[in-house]
Symmetry: C2
Subunit: 115 residues, 2 copies
């Protein structure tokens, strides 16, 4: 099944090791060997994860034949951010409701003190 | 495999139908039958998708035995937003680099006009 871009991005992000690899690449580009080290994984396993990230457009590989360093790409994350934008009003309005309920409870508490 | 919460959320969001169901629930709670209608899917297929969303905490089901309306939950999306926060500096700095490059090109263009 050909995934749409956003689905491919979410699927690639649904693995803690792949998110850890992205977090590492946020500090700068790295070769497969450099990425494998902190994770105590085989380079073969790390290569597979990088392949998934690359297919989703979250990573590009350098042309240097020896190292082929991985570099993080921001574009799919910008798309996630834009998708999320539609849902922000949901939690903002729910936080506001919670705020109002708290304020009301505090008002009632104060009225109770006075009585 | 027991998925961590964030992985479960990303996995649940990696399907366009599940994202469409969430978008519908943003307008208000809905029963399985109400959700199935616009998607021209069987209620069985929709129920499966809601089950995945519910397992990831993105949806809760009402107690009304007849309708069991689904309601969207904001919390896992807030977690995605917080995760994304670490990556925003990435695209902000890349946009700034692009901006600076453009400004430089425009400056060079203007200098060229004068000559």
């Amino acid at each position: 099944m050909a995934l749409d871009q956003l689905s491919a991005t979410f699927a690639a992000l649904s693995d803690p090791t792949r998110r850890a690899i992205l977090a590492r690449l946020l500090e700068g580009e790295a070769s497969v060997a450099e990425l494998a080290e902190p994770f105590q994984m085989t380079t073969r396993a790390v290569s597979k994860h990088i392949g998934v990230l690359e297919a989703a457009g979250l990573v590009t590989r350098g042309r240097d034949a020896q190292r082929r360093p991985s570099r993080i790409r921001a574009e799919p994350l910008v798309d996630v951010d834009m998708w999320l934008q539609g849902y922000r009003r949901l939690w903002i309005s729910r936080f506001q409701q919670l705020d109002e309920r708290l304020a009301k409870l505090q008002m009632e508490g104060r009225t109770g003190d006075r009585e």
